[in-house]
Amino acid sequence: MIDTLIDITLLAFLTITAIAIIKMRDLFVVIMLFSIFSLHSAGLFVVMDAADVAFTEAAVGAGISTVLMLATLALTKDHNEKRPAHHARIPMLVVLITGGALVYGTYDIPSFGDPHSPAQEHVKPYYIEHSIEDTGVPNTVTAVLASYRGYDTLGEVTVIFTAGIGVMLLIGGRIKRKHKQEDDS
């Protein structure tokens, strides 16, 4: 009962924050609201028993993403968004049609928390029963991430590395303070 109450409260906060982000025109406020959205969704992950995911979302969303957006706002010194020049009719229509199609699709999804849904029946019992005897690690998420699906994690680390190289190519030129200056284009 308390779980459901916390669930509904956090979802209500998330909805209010999302609508405020659409309406606000001061970009500094938008970035702060985005950080609050990220933290609330990390709380929702904890309520849904996903501790690793909550940890990562709080650190990455409310930490790194907010810092990078504030740094971008400091570099592009423009704090206010322009009032939109065209009507919102066509985007609203597209959004309503897409939302309606998705809600129609959820009638087939099993109920929230059902222990016999197809997602819980096929691969999950194997991982939960055999992870201690195959890898000796109690945290099933680490066992799946590092051992059963280790190849995907290698691809993920490569993606992060490539993003770092991409940012260096775009804005990583040498600074003026040193006597040597390189062209960054």
Binding site: L75, P138, N139, M168, G172
Partner: protein, 140 residues
């Protein structure tokens, strides 16, 4: 922000606490929530906090940019290198059973080594991106 005594004090004395917590999360990822990604992000946040209070020049004296470049590549190399080592020992790519005499011991060693590689790369890349954004003002 250097002139604010409270911020200076907290940045100086919280930096080792945050770094210690990052190391705890990294190496206890087997027994509780945690792992390489979370630890890498927390360690980079410690350095970003220091840089916000004391300025980029001091932070670049502590951790120069060339070191970050080398660290980022080293993490990926450790990860892929573990896979090549397991191939040389006779198993498949990233088959940790071959890393030691007992398969369970080998799995444990393999998981700790690759999480270390992931943590090193993630912290170095997040700091590299922050340095690039923070130094752009002084650019030509």
């Amino acid at each position: 922000m250097k002139h604010n005594l409270i911020l200076r004090f907290i940045a100086k004395y919280f930096f080792p606490v945050i770094a210690l917590f990052a190391l705890y999360v990294q190496f206890h990822g087997d027994y509780g929530p945690g792992g390489g990604f979370q630890a890498g992000v927390i360690l980079s946040v410690a350095f970003i906090f220091y840089a916000l209070v004391f300025g980029m020049k001091t932070t670049e004296q502590v951790l120069p940019f060339g070191v970050l470049r080398i660290l980022a590549s080293t993490g990926v190399l450790i990860y892929a290198g573990t896979g090549v080592v397991t191939m040389l020992m006779g198993g498949n790519f990233l088959d940790y059973d071959t890393l030691s005499l007992h398969p369970l011991q080998g799995q444990h060693i393999g998981i700790i080594v690759i999480e270390l590689g992931v943590g090193i790369t993630v912290s170095a890349v997040m700091l590299m991106i922050f340095y690039a954004f923070a130094n752009r003002e002084n650019h030509d």
